[in-house]
Subunit: 244 residues, 2 copies
């Protein structure tokens, strides 16, 4: 049984300001919540789930406060259009140690604004074994419910850092940077990378001028047809599949 | 100035049933509408736009009925969360001639249900020069506003056919089929294709059993990290970038 204040609290977490104040985010659906339950660096504070889900997952819920709810209560608190069995309130991910750019490949995102794209890119990074992504402060919020759902459990495996991207790239100019553009080197003909920062631009405007100018190598996905561009997440997937 | 019945008419086109009855769809935003205006096989019936857009595009509007509207009227009729300058009512695309499977590469989509993914896949096909995509009848509607926006102008360049996919594949079994799975041949080590049908499965369930069993080759994107799967559109982009 849900109280009115619980409903209000959960619904309020759809807003970034409230997520920041509470230092938590919402994750929904059996697949995502099960993945998060298995990650050591994830603290699930509260779980709201239907009986069926609770019974099936009893063994793995030791630390979270679990509240049994009905389907219609789930509909009330869900931020999704099709709520499904379980909703969890999760502490924002804490990362041990600092990141490392030497000898690794990192992604840098210049103002990816669509939360779905943003989460999808985190998931792609995870697929290709990239475990750190940097993005500038005007990017989407990774804890936006749409980012969280699109990233699936990868949100807990890929470290995301918000930085002032122009300054951050200057500070790290010892590391080679590869900027995704429409007029660079053909990625299908390049050698695999062992180290570097791959920069992906905004969905509509691409990479900003001052970042582009300082990049070491411009890279491009060769085109055969007529469409002008590819979705930013799709482009990221294609680039990583050729360079990693 | 918009009449009440115009507002009602346009809003109703958010529903598939009404789009089918009227044989039209909605396209929004200056980039998409400009692309469609340039395609010979596209008939734009009506354009609702703010003054600024009409003045800038006067030369190319000969056949469409153009109605000047205000920003707040545009907000009323728009199906997007951020309406932008122009909305067009467009006749569903008519394709001349029949499709051709010999000597070409085609995509077959097994129940892609998210309209955004669906439109993104059409755009990816266009990028890689694929001009025919087949999908089963339970797939998303390509004329759903979200598909249209995600596909951009590619909706007018890539022929889409709704078919009973299982039967259709049987009828065309002379053409080699490549099924995207999690346990097939590594696409990064395959030769480029000159002919064939590449099958992409549903976002959650993958390709259905009876299609999978009859596919000639199972193909896979090699994974380095821990996430279970990739978004269907991202996977399509990666596969095409390696095999075409």
């Amino acid at each position: 049984m849900l109280s009115k204040s619980q409903v209000k609290y959960i619904q309020s977490l759809g807003q970034k300001k409230r997520r920041d104040e509470e230092d938590v985010f919402i994750a929904e659906g059996p697949k995502l919540v099960s993945e998060l339950l298995q990650e050591k660096n994830v603290v699930i504070k509260e779980i709201f789930a239907v009986k069926e889900w609770i019974n099936a997952n009893k063994g793995s819920l030791s630390k979270a406060i679990v509240t049994e709810i009905t389907d219609s209560e789930l509909e009330k608190i869900s931020l999704l259009t099709s709520p499904h069995l379980v909703l969890a309130v999760v502490e924002k991910i804490k990362w041990q140690n600092s990141y490392k750019l030497n000898g690794t490949i990192s992604l840098a995102l210049d103002t990816i604004q669509d939360p779905g794209n943003f989460g999808t890119i985190i998931r792609i990074a995870d697929w290709f074994g990239i475990n750190q992504v940097f993005c500038n402060n005007h990017s989407a919020d990774v804890y936006n419910p749409k980012s969280v759902q699109a990233s699936m459990g990868s949100i807990a495996r890929v470290r995301l850092e918000y930085v002032e991207l122009v300054d951050w790239l200057k500070e790290n100019k010892g590391i080679r940077t590869y900027a995704a553009t429409l007029d660079g080197r053909d990625i299908t003909k390049m050698e695999k990378l062992n180290e570097g920062i791959i920069i992906i631009g905004n969905e509509a405007r691409g990479i900003q001028e001052d970042i582009l100018r300082s990049a070491n190598v411009k890279i491009t996905i060769p085109k055969k047809g007529r469409t002008e561009s590819l979705n930013a997440a799709v482009a990221t997937g294609i680039i990583l599949s050729h360079l990693i």
